[in-house]
């Protein structure tokens, strides 16, 4: 008889997720150990859901004590072997999109009878602050009961933790109570989730696991002062999140796609979200609605203040939004932009106010100007860098790249709105993120000739509940003091925040704190730099694109990040079959990926080696 928890002879006896977060930079290691208790070779699967924003940094496979480590290589180099394998029909993508926040990394190996296998995947990400907290999201989905299942999270924040919480969507509070511990004190926080075998059972006599869902850790740090600078080994990171400032009034134009494809649930959810958003609009704000299908309809001829009367009228208007016809994105957006530009020109809106365009669409332009590049050019020219454009893409069958490029060209961002039951909440959540700008035209300044390789240091807005993160390298590691100024325009006045750091004291203090991993600021800087280079690259052409690619590739290789430019090659024992596998980091363009197939590793004859790939795209 097989021991409890074994399925088809394979017992996954240990799964450990170890997360170490230092100054928002998370280093996660997922380790699964399994043994084949059957009398013949069996396939063992290893599935990990990791955040889309994370970079894999390592994957190793250990069979009966022999470890096969991963090596990061330039994608093009690895691709040749990959293509050869593809041509033989033996390749499989190892990473695919999984839901709205995650990517799924999947491999499987054939393990001989009585043998043990250990999978270890490492990934890193910079946790971003949204609505006043950092969120770390883990998907928990073991395929069977696991004798030793454990999530261990250690958080170290030099500013001190102000709150820490952990929630599991899949287990009741009374069961969770004994399996979950969470604590924080001063600069350290700890979360541990160790459900026993009985706690994992979906029912007292069941052998299947109820661990299937989201495990979310949220925390925030103390903010006695608006900024915090940390310096280790010549690299610095500067976190900036002031509090207590009045909100800058907003001039918001909602550009809403009401073409035929929005009919039914999508437009219903849009109406629901807009009604909720109208409840949150502040009286100092100005707004208008632009509806487009084949033509364009405006709620008002110009922006109107969000007085109670106007909001009442806006609600009545939103409730009556119907759908019909084609998709004229160009004219819809240009009308919205004109409304904002005119309001500013005619002094209809407060001098100190900020404008934003939020477009919601589910599809490609198919009437009027429908060439994507031309629409982007028109929008770019009309906005002229004066305010951001946020594009919300509804549904899966839209040209998301087009929306994202256009948003990035105009200092905004694109978000996908998933057509689930909570689409209206997603829309509302997005609005809440941008609803409270506290500063405009933020610039973080450092002493000239003192720093190198600075990440993005100018931002059109600082939103309440978010955080600006700038990292860089000190030119002179022996410098004694470090000064940073953050300048921005508030709702009423201009502000300059100054942060001065004694470098030696800081380094000493941080060393004394026993940092969890010493080079985390350098890795954080590399992560942020690569992320921003890749973002810029989406919007670049020709030589500029080549330069950005070269820089991002260089850093990806140097810091062992699996990014869209690199592949991770894992040596595996020869099994007399020419096989390869690739893990593509799925893009947001919705391009379907090669479906994942099993990755067969026969280990019985390890005389020679060949390669498999863990890839990001």
């Amino acid at each position: 008889s097989l021991p409890e928890g074994a399925v088809n002879g394979i017992e996954v006896y240990s799964t450990k997720i170890t997360c170490k977060v230092t100054s928002r930079f998370a280093h996660n290691v997922v380790t699964t150990r399994a043994v084949n208790r059957a009398e013949n070779a069996q396939e063992v699967f290893f599935d990990v859901d990791l955040p889309k924003t994370a970079f894999i940094t390592n994957f190793t496979l250990t069979i009966d004590g022999v470890t096969y480590p991963g090596n990061i290589k330039e994608k093009e180099v690895a691709k040749k072997q990959y293509e050869k394998a593809v041509s033989q029909g033996k390749t499989a993508g190892l990473v695919k999109a999984s839901g709205r926040k995650l990517e799924k990394f999947t491999v499987s190996v054939n393990v001989a009878a009585g043998s043990k296998v250990t999978f270890e995947l490492t990934y890193e990400e910079l946790l971003k602050r949204r609505q006043g907290k950092y969120e770390m999201y883990l998907k928990v989905q073991p395929k069977q009961l696991v004798r030793d299942f454990e999530i261990e999270v250690d958080i170290f924040e030099p500013q001190g933790l102000s709150m820490l919480d952990a929630q599991a969507s899949f287990i009741t509070n009374d069961l969770l109570g004994s399996a979950l511990t969470k604590s924080f004190s001063g600069k350290k926080g700890h979360v541990s989730f160790k459900p026993s075998l009985d706690q994992q059972r979906s029912c007292p006599t069941c052998t299947d696991s109820l661990l299937n869902g989201d495990f979310t850790i949220t925390y925030d740090v103390n903010r006695e002062s608006p900024a915090n600078v940390q310096i280790v080994n010549g690299y610095f990171v500067h976190f900036f999140a002031p509090q207590g400032l009045p909100v800058v009034p907003k001039n918001v134009v909602f550009v809403i796609d009401i073409s035929g494809s929005m009919s039914g649930r999508k437009i219903q959810q849009t109406r629901e979200a807009l009604l909720k958003i109208l409840d949150d609009v502040k009286e100092d704000d100005y707004l208008n609605f632009i509806l487009f299908s084949g033509g364009v309809t405006t709620w008002k001829d110009h922006l109107v203040q969000a007085t109670p009367e106007n909001l009442q009228e806006a609600r009545a208007f939103v409730r009556k939004i119907g759908v019909d016809g084609m998709t004229n994105i160009n004219d819809g957006l240009l009308t919205g932009i004109t409304v904002l530009n005119e309001a500013r020109k005619e002094h209809r809106v407060p001098e100190r106010s900020t404008s934003i365009v939020i477009m919601l669409t589910d599809g490609d332009a198919n009437t009027g100007e429908s060439r994507p590049e031309k629409i982007q050019e028109n929008v770019r020219n009309a906005i002229g860098g004066k305010f951001p454009l946020y594009n919300l893409g509804f549904g899966n069958n839209l040209n998301y790249n087009f929306l994202e490029t256009m948003a990035l060209q105009n200092h905004g961002l694109a978000r996908r709105i998933y057509e689930d039951s909570d689409a209206s909440l997603q829309l509302q959540g997005f609005y809440e993120e941008v609803a409270n700008p506290l500063l405009m035209d933020v610039e973080v300044q450092y002493p000239e000739n003192a720093i190198l390789d600075l990440t993005q240091n100018t931002y059109q807005h600082f939103y309440d509940g978010s955080e600006i993160v700038v990292a860089g390298r000190l030119l002179d590691e022996e410098m004694n003091s470090f000064k940073a100024d953050v300048k921005g325009q508030g709702a009423i006045n201009d502000l300059t925040f100054t942060e001065e750091v004694d470098v030696k004291e800081m380094e000493k203090a941080l060393q004394e704190q026993g940092y969890i991993f010493g080079d985390f600021i350098e890795r954080l800087w590399a992560y942020l730099t690569i992320e921003q280079l890749l973002e810029k690259r989406k919007n670049a052409h020709g030589e500029e694109k080549e330069n950005l690619t070269a820089q991002a590739l260089d850093l990806s290789l140097k810091y062992h990040f699996v990014t869209p430019l690199t592949s991770m090659v894992v040596t595996k024992p020869e099994d007399n079959e020419d096989q390869a596998a690739i893990a593509d980091k799925p893009g947001e363009d919705g391009t379907p990926l090669t479906p994942s197939r099993s990755w067969m590793v026969g280990y019985q004859h390890p005389q020679t080696s060949h390669y498999n790939y863990v890839d990001g795209d």
Partner: protein, 239 residues
């Protein structure tokens, strides 16, 4: 709290104390022309002495208002709150920040002081005094300094404001006082004849150590030196 009035024309200084119960709000500066007022609320040591004369009192809350700009700032040892009309900004003494807008500039220097300037010609300095936490009865307090007042009108009044205009005093008959280590003298000021004592106070504008300022101390809550009596300057609220 201690008050120090420098009289540059005489190259001398006058000082006095106001001894009032914690919670009392005093009008320090009021200028009906520029619309500027400065008021201060008194705090005492946490462990209050039953003897009011032995009680130490300080400014624990200062309020500066500019009616023309619709601007107010309230400063305590814990935080600094600015109001522009109804819009509120809150800062901490751990911030180093400069806030500028038309006709106004506020600079907070982390854990030290803050400068409030109304255009050219009116600048106030507020100093944060952080006391040693032992013994526990003491608490942090504030100092208020007028750095520049030359744009304030001749109608400016208040416990400090009345001294923005040039005034004269004469000191004579310097003699040993009741405390043999100090000198007493006769001061003629504002048509009053007062017995004053030579003493010293500290000016903390430059640093936390303070600079010694030798002054003539006017007894009895500045009686005879200030217009009216000190209770005339008590107001019901900070703003």
């Amino acid at each position: 709290p201690h008050f120090i009035i420098r009289v540059p024309e005489k190259e001398d200084a006058i000082c006095f104390n106001i001894d009032e119960a914690p919670g009392t709000v005093l009008r320090l500066v009021q200028d009906p022309v520029t619309g500027l007022t400065v008021n201060g609320q008194i705090i005492g040591d946490k462990t209050a002495s039953p003897d009011s004369k032995a009680r130490r009192t300080y400014f624990g809350r200062l309020g500066i208002a500019h009616t023309h700009l619709d601007f107010r700032v309230e400063v305590t040892p814990e935080k600094i709150t600015l109001w522009n009309g109804a819009a509120q900004s809150i800062f901490s003494w751990l911030d180093t920040v400069t806030i500028t807008q038309d006709g106004l500039s506020v600079t907070i220097n982390r854990k030290k002081n803050m400068l409030v300037s109304f255009g050219e010609g009116v600048t106030f300095l507020i100093v944060l005094h952080q006391v040693w936490k032992q013994p526990p009865g003491h608490q942090d307090f504030l100092g208020f300094y007028v750095v520049d007042s030359h744009r304030m009108s001749a109608q400016t009044h208040g416990l400090l404001g009345q001294f923005f205009h040039p005034f004269d005093f004469e000191v004579s008959d310097i003699r040993p006082g009741s405390d043999p280590s100090k000198l007493d003298a006769t001061m003629v000021v504002k048509s009053h004849r007062l017995v004053v004592t030579r003493g010293s106070q500290k000016d903390y504008r430059k640093d936390a150590n303070g600079t010694k300022v030798v002054c003539w101390f006017v007894h009895n809550n500045g009686e005879g030196l200030i217009d009216g009596v000190h209770t005339d300057y008590i107001i019901p609220a900070l703003f």
